[in-house]
Amino acid sequence: MKPLDQLVQQEGAIQDRSIYWDNDVYQAEMEHIFARCWLFLTHDSIIPEKGDYQVTTMGEDNVIVARQADGSLKAFLNSCTHRGNFVCFSEAGNTRSFVCPYHGWSFGIDGSLQDVPLEKQAYHQEIDKTALGLRQIRVASYKGLIFGTFDESAPPLEKYLGGMAWYLDSFLDVPGGIELIGPPMKSTLECNWKNPSENFIGDGYHVGWAHASALEIAGGSLASMKGLNEYDKNSGLQISLPEGHGFGAIWECVAALHPGPPGVAYQQWVDQRSPAVKEIVGEQREKFYRAHWNATIFPNCSFLYGTNTFKVWQPRGPHSIEVTTWTMVEKEMPKELKDMIHADNMLTFGTAGILESDDGENFENCTNSNRGHSTRQGTVYLGMGQGHERQEAGLPGIVSDGWVNETSTRGMYRRWAEMMSGKSWDNLSTTADLENNQ
């Protein structure tokens, strides 16, 4: 692996291409990023009852998240402490225990070891079951969004989200909050996990070009972007948080990717909710509530608020990911509106989606060109809008005009480099530090 100051240069504007290809970089990411960050697991609405569980991955580690009798959550490795087999093969469900199919060890919904066959006869009643529970993982929820971390020294989830939490509240604090609709779609992309993360955090640029065919047939308020001829930089902005998270917002475009009757119904819903939302989150964030967002919570949880697709890019080696896709809706929306939004999400950003299919090709090819040894010696460029960022009172993080920008993308790579250096959490940048240094 090359030195870090070569891998990411010029405040995030230059990436060495090896970071999308080399296995040693990938293994270092697993250690310094995926074993340390808070990673998205699931949503409260998916596992509401005692014994409800979902199986997912954190990096490449297979984990179970389960609802406990007291309503709290526990997460633990899906790997038997006897010889290592998985203890659960279902992707979700409701259970009282997880029984390993190899020798029959049985674990409770809290991950503790409950029963061992032939405990008396073969183990002479000497086995210490309390020391052989499934490895526990720290788990926390932010307004229904459930995350886990392997790092005992990681800051609390809310601090990890930093300034992003303030923005997320624009739609998380609506009466009733949000929910995710599943079961999720799952598909694979032969690309590096950073390609989709960077696309969602700040690639407004590709929308008019890569998605020209979809914009042409779907119409809607973004259709004028088609072919990248027209664009007003006051139509939105980008935000980058020192914690690595970020997003682009397009004002008054919440329903832009829901053409036809669903878009009309969704816009009506937002209009009718706006006064209450304004009351709760204030005028500034009401504007965000009414905007369309493309966002990533560092490192690999992305969503489009408005289009309401919610995705996790699960790394599966340096050139491969598994994509998990849910639909995000407000809990208090009428069922018919939820169904329309869910159907639209499948049609646009589902596995057979008319926008998803454009993106997949681009993500894969941006990774795969780096197979070439000589290609890989070069760099790629993210300089759009550099030098035009600012800090703005009342808006956490770094702000830049225009949703066609690369401000939030550079921020993601600055954080990537910072984490890859192995710095302790105390020495990593935070929104609070940025504000204090202003």
């Binding site: 992707e91 047939i217 598994e322 499948m346």
Partner: protein
Amino acid sequence: MNSEEHSALSGQPVDQATHFEIERFLVREARALDEERYHDWLDNMVAKDVIYQLPTQEVRYRRDRKTIGNAQTTYLYNDNYDVLAMRVARFDTGFLWAEDPPMRIRRYITNIDAQWADEEGEVDVWSNFIVYRSRAQRDNVSTHGRRRDRLRKTDGQWQLASRVITLEQRVIMDKNVHCFF
């Protein structure tokens, strides 16, 4: 055939001549799609009230089928005629970069089993398929699955009235399933 005679047939295997027609229909349909004749497909082989679906399937234990939380069926395709027409229109825009150079797609339709449906002039048809897609130089993927179709004979022509597609893979081992099955 009167309706009494028909209801007695419902659920019975179709006769040999009908089976032959249906098999020919499915093969011709596959060739139209292979040859990217999407308008031919929509105009001549698909009924205006078509329902075209591809639900995802969760991997769950046999003993625990209970729906948890707010889960519902997630459809990769849940299209009516207009949505199918919109997908087809996208091919016509000239901006579909991923399909240029064109993909090469071959559909293999097998295990065809047809029986009379409960509606007169309609049949339920099960078939298995392999769809092989080749893109660019060496991006090759085969997707396997099964379809349950409802075909309807109108003016002497069979048409697709509904299709429910099942893919055996939970995690789809392709970048998308943006092609007709």
